[in-house]
Symmetry: C2
């Protein structure tokens, strides 16, 4: 744990547990915990909304470090949807991101695809692809709000 | 083949073969061929750039029908990146989409994640998540253009 560049130190028994740890780390602005969710693999991919695709632990760590230096991110997941095989799990959700701006709290919505692979160290994230959602995204399947993470 | 709502009729021996068939179908504006690439599963997901997430064969078919009624789509894939397990394959690429507009040919770039699962009928698409790419996305890894599909 705490090596800064390695995903070693945590074993997630399910992809949902790994995803929970990912969003818990964001709300705590805990970069080390966040990076422990990622697979220790140079092929991992992170796409922030509208930004250049990042590959590998180093680039991905740097990007989250920049984001989290502004503080924590409170993200609720809605419309959660999972497609699983024996060694992989693909999760599509709507992220409802609450940010504190100059005009107070504001909300933004993103479509997100998170992919997890099962390896010797349990389930780890290999892909996070977030993109701006349609304006009405947050209004769909409102009943899903009961299943939010936070 | 040609049932209109079923993915039956084609067997793709690899996820790359399925992905090739997907983009070949777009350049031919062949809706039936396009839908044969998708898994015959109500859990499949399609996210067009900035649009509401679609789930299941019916919604996904309707959306592509609307898109293809305007004509074919010529899409080059660059920066192709694959993460595979025994039964799944996650492909991240940049789509360079050429469209004919009122001012002539124009290009748009999208980040795309395509996920394929291996089933009894070979490899099929279960997710297509496309989103607007950063303006400089098309300039990265120019050498990858040699590996474009078309």
């Amino acid at each position: 744990m705490g090596t800064g560049t390695s995903g070693a130190g945590s074993v997630f028994a399910s992809p949902l547990e790994a995803e929970q740890a990912f969003y818990d780390a964001l709300v705590k602005a805990d970069l080390e915990a966040l990076m422990r969710v990622w697979a220790d693999d140079e092929d991992i991919v992170c796409i922030h909304p509208g930004d250049v695709r990042l590959t590998g632990l180093h680039q991905i760590r740097q990007s989250w470090q920049q984001i989290l230096q502004h503080g924590s991110l409170t993200i609720e997941l809605t419309r959660r949807h999972t497609m699983q095989t024996v060694m992989s799990s693909t999760h599509c959700s709507i992220e409802c991101i609450t940010v504190r701006g100059p005009e107070g709290l504001q909300q933004a919505y993103c479509d997100v695809t998170n992919v997890f692979h099962k390896g010797r160290a349990g389930w780890r994230m290999v892909l996070h692809h977030a993109s701006p959602a349609a304006p009405q995204a947050g209004l769909h399947d409102a009943q899903d709000f009961a299943g939010t993470l936070h």
